[in-house]
């Protein structure tokens, strides 16, 4: 009966904090992480099986990436304006994280991880805030949405690189990379080849479509795992799910199942956020240390500034307006699910020699994501006001500067 007890704790606490966050009009991602923090290893309750909850959470990550792959739009992103915006966003914000990671004494790999987590905005928060705050009529809404799409593809690339680096030795990196790419090509070809056979199965009204989806997802994940063992490297099942999703997006009848996928994703992803908080051991001593607080503050301030700088460049180039650009910056401030996914994937396969200060890195990212998802939502909500104020500030500083 014990697993039921664990499940009850997870779902009830997430429900309670989730509801609270909705009433307070806040993003719910930090609520679930905090639920895990309060009740997990650093908190009140000792779970019968941490593994069990982590497994469920892992399904959430796989489904998230599957969904992102499904919704990914390869054609639209090739447009030069969108590419420019995406590259600017990456160049500015990744560098900010990387440099700061280096300054606070992280290893190169760790700085790379920190940079990835700091760079990537939360699509979930950004997009729901665009809708809720009624921004869709403004031209920058389109720019922001396509930025999120671009970040998705960068996320996939970052995950491939990170899992390959974790292969262990330098010599294994190309093997791991090649194996991943091979598997991706195999999946794309497999689905394309069999799409005539698969498509009618998705149109059935019984349990077969759902079974088929999960069979494909778990089947290919298992294949990735087995290949990893065989080659002594690691192929991320998360990447596999992403490309499986984008391959299935081409199967017409599949769109019917989108609602089902989203429901499963929402449930398991919530458990994932909980499990992420749960695994984290709060060490108050570490959190209280002046160095940590300083590093965290620097990270928060610089990464917010980073999004405003990249936003300003994008706005100036795409919309011919600095103020619009600042709005883009404000809207893309929230960080969330992807930062967590990145750090979790790395943690799971982390080779400890490569990650000497993993405790510090983890503590940084957990607190950073919780703070930035809340602060970011605030920025996204009041983006118009903030950018207006900033413009007034600029104009005061440089009275003769042209807008």
């Amino acid at each position: 009966m014990n697993f039921l007890l664990d499940l009850a704790i997870v779902t009830v606490s997430c429900l309670a904090l989730g509801l609270a966050s909705k009433y307070l009009k806040q993003a719910s991602i930090p609520a679930y992480i905090i639920a895990g923090l309060l009740l997990g290893k650093s908190g009140l309750i000792s779970f019968e099986s941490y593994d069990f909850i982590q497994w469920l959470g892992k399904i959430g990550v796989i489904l998230l990436m599957f969904y992102i792959g499904l919704e990914f739009n390869y054609k639209g992103i090739k447009e030069p304006r969108r590419l420019f915006a995406g590259c600017t966003d990456f160049a500015v914000n990744f560098s900010v994280g990387f440099l700061l990671g280096h300054v606070i004494g992280l290893s190169l790999v760790e700085a790379f991880i920190l940079a990835s987590a700091v760079y990537i905005s939360s699509s979930a928060i950004v997009i729901s805030s665009l809708i809720e705050n009624k921004r869709l009529i403004y031209p920058e809404a389109e720019t922001v949405v396509w930025l999120m799409v671009f970040e998705d593809i960068i996320l996939a690339i970052l995950l491939v690189i990170l899992t390959s680096i974790m292969a262990g030795s330098l010599a294994m990196i190309p093997v791991s990379l090649a194996a991943t790419l091979l598997l991706i090509v195999f999946i794309l070809a497999f689905i394309r080849r069999l799409s005539n056979f698969i498509a009618p199965l998705f149109e059935r009204d019984d349990e077969i479509p759902v079974l088929l989806i999960f069979a494909l997802i778990f089947g290919f994940s298992a294949l990735a795992y087995l290949m990893g063992i065989l080659l002594h490297c690691h192929i991320s099942e998360v990447i596999v799910a992403f490309f499986l999703g984008s391959a299935l997006a081409g199967v017409k009848s599949f769109r019917k199942l989108l609602g089902t996928i989203i429901s499963f994703k929402n449930l398991f992803l919530t458990i994932f956020f909980f499990s992420f908080g749960m695994m984290f051991k709060f060490q108050l001593a570490a959190l209280n240390s002046a160095d940590f607080v300083l590093a965290l503050l620097a990270l928060i301030v610089l990464s917010i500034l980073g999004k405003f700088v990249s936003g300003a460049i994008i706005g100036k180039r795409l919309h011919g307006s600095l103020e619009t650009g600042l709005r883009v910056g404000a809207y893309t401030t929230p960080r969330g699910e992807f930062s967590v996914v990145l750090i979790m994937v790395v943690m799971e396969i982390g080779v400890l020699e490569l990650l000497p200060s993993i405790e510090l890195l983890l503590a940084l990212v957990v607190t950073y994501v919780i703070i930035l998802s809340i602060v970011g939502s605030f920025f996204a909500k009041h983006g118009n006001m903030i950018s207006k104020r900033m413009m007034m500030g600029f104009n005061k500083l440089m009275p003769r500067a042209h807008r």
């Binding site: 919704e71 990914f72 739009n73 639209g76 699509s123 997009i127 665009l130 809708i131 009624k134 869709l136 009529i137 809404a141 389109e142 949405v145 396509w146 999120m148 799409v149 989108l258 118009n384």
Partner: protein, 160 residues
């Protein structure tokens, strides 16, 4: 009209009037439809969220198939046939007709009105057979010119 795709959100159709007002319709992936109106110079847009049913109704008004509703009466006219005005009328069954069929009452012959549907206990019977008898509580959907509908109401149903 400007059409743009917003991944994960939906598709946006936007139009800007010469005055600078903007109207946008966004088909969300959830199946709902958001209607934005942004007056030029305004700080914030007004937004409403419609179900697909509401959007369809609104759409048919905007496309110019003129619908004037007085009570339960709908007048339909088509842009291409300007002299055609069809009235669709919804009338509850009266004691005069309960138990009688469309054929018995000779509705068409006496008034020119065609009964196109009967709504019975929440279910619609489209194109009811002439021998079908009316029951208490039925709603009749009748089509005809305005005068014909009036005639039907007074002669057949015994109203006013």
């Amino acid at each position: 009209m400007q059409i743009s795709e917003l991944p994960e959100i939906g598709t946006k159709y936007e139009i800007e009037t010469p005055k600078g007002d903007k109207v946008a319709v966004i088909f969300l992936t959830t199946g709902e439809i958001e209607l934005y109106v942004l007056e030029s110079g305004a700080d914030k847009p007004s937004v409403t969220r419609l179900t697909s049913e509401e959007a369809r109704r609104l759409g048919s008004v905007l496309t110019g198939a003129l619908l004037t509703i007085e009570h339960e009466d709908v007048e339909v006219s088509f842009a291409d046939i300007s002299d055609l005005r069809i009235h669709i009328h919804l009338c509850p069954v009266t004691k005069n007709v309960v138990g009688k069929s469309i054929e018995d009452l000779a509705i068409r012959k006496k008034t020119g009105v065609t009964v196109v549907a009967i709504s019975r206990k929440g279910q619609s019977i489209v194109s009811p057979p002439p021998e079908m008898a009316f029951e208490e509580g039925d709603l009749i959907v009748a089509v005809g010119k305005r005068e014909q509908i009036k005639a039907c109401q007074s002669v057949i149903l015994g109203q006013g």
